[in-house]
C-alpha cells in the first residue's frame, strides 16, 4: 500500500501524531543533516585540496623536463609534444592572466583589505603651495574589482591544474608510444565524453556574472558600513564585521525596532496568504469538479484569468479602486452601506486585512489549478466505504479530502510559504508598504522584509542593512527548505526512478 493509502487508514489521533512526527523529524533531520554536512563538506574540501597539492608535487618530481616546464610556462608539455593548439591556448591564458594581474588585478586584491584609505576632499599640495581636490578612493568599486580579481584568480587556478593534468597525460601517452590526440580529436571529445563541459560552460558563465558575482558582492557588503552616511565616492566605507547583524537583531535602535515587527508581519502574512489560498482554492476546485456542474472549462478559465493578467495591471487597478475616494468606497456610500470612507489601504490594520483578502483573488486560482489534478486521484474506495458508514459530505471533506490533499502537497505548501515570505509584487503594487510609520526606519506598516530591503536599497541607499536583511531572509528560507527538500520524492529516489 502506498504512503498516502496507509495514512488514510489511520484514526484522527494517529494522523495528528503522524503529521507532527513527520514535521519534526523532517525539521530536525534536516538541521542535523545540515550541520553534519558542514564538517563533511569542510573535510572533503581540505581532502580535495590535499590531494590536489600531492598531485602537483608528484607530477613535478616524477615528470620530465617538459612537464616540469609546464609548471612555469603553461602548456609547454603539450606544445613541444605536438599538441600545438592546446599548448598555445594554455600559454595565451597564462600570459593574459599575468598581464591582468600586473596591470590591475594584484592591486585590486590588495585593495580588498582596506577598501580605500584616501578620502575625497581638499588636501594641501606642498609643491604648488595650494589646496587641491584629491580624487579619493571609491570603496564600492574597489570591493567590486577586488571580488572580480578573486574570481579571475580562481578561474586561473582551475585552468592551471587542468594544464598540469594535461601535461602529465601528454607525457604518459608519449612514453607508451601511442599517438597524442590532435586538436580536432580534442574538440570532438567535447561533444561526447566531455559534453557536459560544453553545454554547461555558457549557462554557468551567465550565472557566475549575473547571480554569483553580485551575490558575493552583496553578501560582503553586509559586513561593511556601506549605508546612507558612507556613500562613495564622497566617503569611504570599511569592514565592520558582524555589527550590522548586532544592530539589526539585538540593540534597541531604530533598525531592530523595525526589523522585529516587520518580521512578525511577514510571518503572519505568509501564514494567512498560504493557508487561506490553499483551503479556499481546494474548495473551489471541488466545487468545479462536482459531477453535476457543466461548463467546467469555462469556470476554470474565468478564475485563471486573474493569474494570466500581469499583476502590475490588476493590482494597480485594485489599488486605485480601493483608494479612500476610490470606486469601492463611493459605491458603498452611494448604496448607503457606510457613512464614512473605509481606509482600505491607509490604516495599518485595515490595510493588512485588505491585502490578505485581495491576495485571495490571485492566490485561490493557483491552488485551484494545482489541487484539481490531485483531487481527481483520490482513491474512490475511500469515499465509497465512508458513504456506506453514513458519513456526511462535510465529514468526508475533513476526514478524507483535506488530509489526503495536504499529505500529497506538503512540499508544495512549504515552497508556497517561502514564496509568500518573498512576495514582493502584491505588497509593492497594492500598498507600496504603506501606511508609512514614524516608528519604523524606512518601512511602512505593511512592508515585508523583501519590500523593506527594496526600499533600503532604492530610497535610502542603506546597502549594508539591505544586505543584512537579505542574508537573514536567506537563513529563514533555508531552514524551511530543509524541511521539504528531504521529503520530496525527486530528491530521495532520483536514481531509482530512471
Amino acid at each position: 500500500m502506498s504512503d498516502s493509502g496507509r495514512y488514510m487508514m489511520m484514526s484522527w489521533y494517529e494522523k495528528i501524531y503522524y503529521t507532527l512526527k513527520r514535521f519534526f523529524k523532517g525539521l530536525f533531520c534536516g538541521i542535523a543533516d545540515f550541520f553534519k554536512g558542514i564538517p563533511n563538506a569542510v573535510v572533503s574540501f581540505f581532502k580535495a585540496v590535499g590531494r590536489g597539492l600531492l598531485f602537483l608535487v608528484k607530477s613535478f618530481t616524477n615528470g620530465d623536463v617538459l612537464t616540469k616546464l609546464s609548471f612555469v610556462l603553461m602548456g609547454s608539455s603539450n606544445l613541444f609534444r605536438g599538441q600545438i593548439v592546446k599548448g598555445f591556448l594554455y600559454l595565451i591564458f597564462e600570459i593574459a592572466y599575468v598581464i591582468y594581474m600586473v596591470l590591475t588585478g594584484a592591486s585590486a586584491i590588495a585593495g580588498l583589505k582596506t577598501l580605500g584609505t584616501k578620502k575625497q576632499g581638499w588636501v594641501f599640495d606642498e609643491k604648488q603651495g595650494i589646496d587641491i581636490m584629491q580624487q579619493g578612493d571609491n570603496s564600492m568599486l574597489m570591493l567590486l574589482f577586488g571580488v572580480f580579481a578573486v574570481f579571475v584568480t580562481a578561474a586561473f587556478v582551475i585552468v592551471y591544474i587542468s594544464n598540469i593534468k594535461s601535461a602529465v597525460k601528454a607525457e604518459e601517452i608519449k612514453k607508451s608510444g601511442k599517438k597524442l590526440p590532435g586538436f580536432v580529436e580534442d574538440v570532438k571529445n567535447y561533444f561526447d565524453g566531455n559534453f557536459h563541459k560544453t553545454i554547461l560552460s555558457l549557462p554557468i558563465l551567465g550565472v557566475l556574472t549575473f547571480t554569483v558575482l553580485p551575490l558575493v558582492f552583496m553578501i560582503l557588503i553586509a559586513f561593511t558600513n556601506y549605508d546612507s552616511k558612507h556613500q562613495p565616492p564622497g566617503n569611504l566605507f570599511t569592514w565592520i564585521g558582524l555589527d550590522n547583524f548586532k544592530v539589526m537583531l539585538s540593540s534597541g535602535g531604530a533598525l531592530s525596532r523595525t526589523f522585529w515587527p516587520v518580521l512578525g508581519w511577514t510571518l503572519i502574512w505568509a501564514v494567512f496568504a498560504t493557508f487561506l489560498n490553499y483551503i479556499f482554492g481546494m474548495l473551489l476546485a471541488m466545487l468545479i469538479n462536482k459531477k453535476e456542474i457543466k461548463f467546467k472549462g469555462l469556470f476554470r478559465t474565468i478564475f485563471v484569468l486573474s493569474i494570466a493578467i500581469p499583476q502590475f495591471v490588476s493590482l494597480l487597478i485594485m489599488r486605485n479602486m480601493l483608494n479612500d475616494q476610490g470606486a469601492v468606497n463611493v459605491l458603498l456610500k452611494n448604496l448607503g452601506l457606510i457613512d464614512s470612507y473605509i481606509p482600505f489601504l491607509s490604516d495599518a490594520n485595515t490595510a493588512r486585512i485588505t491585502i490578505i483578502i485581495i491576495n485571495l483573488w490571485i492566490g485561490i486560482p493557483y491552488s485551484m489549478l494545482i489541487t484539481t489534478g490531485i483531487l481527481q486521484n483520490i482513491p474512490g474506495y475511500l469515499y465509497e466505504s465512508a458513504t456506506i458508514d453514513g458519513a456526511s459530505s462535510f465529514t468526508m471533506f475533513f476526514k478524507i479530502t483535506l488530509p489526503y490533499v495536504i499529505f500529497v502537497t506538503t512540499p508544495y505548501l512549504i515552497t508556497q510559504f517561502i514564496g509568500n515570505l518573498n512576495n514582493f509584487n502584491v505588497i509593492y503594487l497594492l500598498s507600496g508598504g504603506g501606511p508609512s510609520s514614524l516608528d519604523y526606519y524606512q518601512a511602512g506598516k505593511t512592508d515585508l522584509l523583501v519590500t523593506w530591503l527594496y526600499k533600503l536599497t532604492v530610497n535610502s541607499k542603506d546597502y549594508s542593512y539591505a544586505s543584512t536583511i537579505g542574508i537573514l531572509v536567506f537563513v529563514i528560507s533555508a531552514v524551511l527548505s530543509l524541511l521539504t527538500y528531504r521529503n520530496t520524492g525527486s530528491y530521495k529516489n532520483e536514481e531509482d526512478f530512471q
Partner: protein
C-alpha cells in the same frame, strides 16, 4: 473524481430534491465568485473605453464611450511613446527567451542525462543560490552592467533576464528524467555521441517542455517592473511597457493618462493572458513536479 455523494441505493424523491438544491446552490456560488473575479477585469476594460478623464469616478458604468484612449496611445507620442515601448518589450522578450531557453535546456539536460563528478554539488549550489532574495543583488548587477558600459540599454535588460536563467532548470530536468534512458543507450550502441543524442533524441521528444520554457521566459519581461526601473532610470526611449504604464500613474500624469493607462493595460494583457491560458497545463505539471502521481 470527487462528488459529495455516491447514490448507493438511495433514490427516493427527497434525496433527489436535496441533490438538486445542492447543484443549484453550487451554481449560484460559482457564478457569484465568477462575477467577483471578473469585476476588476471588467473595470479595466470599461475604463479603457471611458470618455471622461480622471482616475476616480464615483460610478461603475462610464457615462460615455470612446476609442480615443487607444488612438491617443499610438498617436500622442511626445510624453509617452507606447508603440516604441511595445516594440522594446517585444524585442527584449524574444531575445531573452531564446537565450534563457538555450541555457535552461543545456543545464537541465546535463543535470538529468549526463553523469559527472560535479553534478550533485552544482545542483546543491543552484538550490542555495535560489534561496537568496533576488532583489538583494539588484544594485550589484547594476554596477556590473555599468562596468560593461551598457546601463540604460535593451542589451542590459536582455542579459539581466536571461543571464541567471540556467538556475531555473528544475522543471525541465524533471521532464527529461521521464524520457526513458533506454533510448539514449540504444543510440550510444549505434555509435552516437552525447551531443547527437541531445539534438536528435532528447530535444525532439521534449516539445512540451520547450514550449513551456519559451513561453515563461517570453512572458517575464512584460510583467517585470523592478529590474527594468533600476536599469533604465530616466531613459524613456528604452522603457518597457510595464515601466511606461507605471509612469502614467505618477501623480503629475494620472489625471490625464489614467484612461490611457487602462487602454495600454488591456492591449498588453490580451496576448499575455492568451498565452498563459494556452499553456496552463504545462504550468501545473511544472509546479507539482509529478507529486500527484
Amino acid at each position: 473524481m470527487i462528488s459529495s455523494d455516491f447514490s448507493l441505493g438511495k433514490s427516493n424523491k427527497s434525496y433527489k430534491r436535496s441533490k438538486m438544491i445542492g447543484t443549484v446552490f453550487a451554481y449560484i456560488i460559482l457564478i457569484l465568485l465568477s462575477i467577483i473575479w471578473l469585476i476588476p477585469i471588467l473595470w479595466v476594460i470599461l475604463t479603457s473605453f471611458r470618455a471622461e478623464q480622471g482616475s476616480f469616478t464615483p460610478y461603475f458604468w462610464p457615462k460615455g464611450f470612446t476609442l480615443q484612449n487607444y488612438e491617443k496611445l499610438f498617436t500622442e507620442t511626445k510624453q509617452f511613446y507606447f508603440l516604441r515601448w511595445f516594440g522594446n518589450t517585444f524585442f527584449v522578450a524574444v531575445c531573452s527567451c531564446v537565450l534563457s531557453t538555450f541555457f535552461v535546456l543545456c543545464v537541465s539536460y546535463a543535470m538529468s542525462r549526463l553523469r559527472f563528478k560535479m553534478r550533485k554539488p552544482l545542483m546543491n549550489i543552484a538550490l542555495i543560490l535560489g534561496m537568496f532574495p533576488g532583489f538583494m543583488s539588484m544594485i550589484a548587477v547594476y554596477y556590473i552592467l555599468k562596468g560593461f558600459g551598457i546601463t540604460q540599454s535593451l542589451a542590459a535588460l536582455i542579459l539581466v533576464y536571461s543571464g541567471g536563467a540556467g538556475l531555473g532548470f528544475y522543471i525541465a530536468k524533471g521532464f527529461f528524467d521521464t524520457i526513458p534512458k533506454t533510448l539514449d543507450e540504444a543510440a550510444y550502441l549505434d555509435g552516437a555521441t552525447k551531443a547527437m543524442v541531445f539534438w536528435k533524441i532528447t530535444i525532439p521528444l521534449s516539445k512540451p517542455i520547450i514550449v513551456y520554457t519559451i513561453l515563461t521566459s517570453f512572458l517575464a519581461p512584460w510583467a517585470d517592473y523592478i529590474f527594468a526601473s533600476v536599469i533604465m532610470g530616466d531613459n524613456y526611449a528604452n522603457y518597457t511597457v510595464a515601466l511606461g504604464l507605471f509612469k502614467m500613474l505618477e501623480r503629475e500624469f494620472i489625471h490625464t493618462y489614467y484612461t490611457r493607462f487602462a487602454a495600454g493595460a488591456v492591449l498588453v494583457s490580451i496576448p499575455i493572458a492568451a498565452l498563459f491560458i494556452a499553456t496552463q497545463k504545462f504550468y501545473v505539471s511544472g509546479i507539482t513536479g509529478g507529486s500527484d502521481k
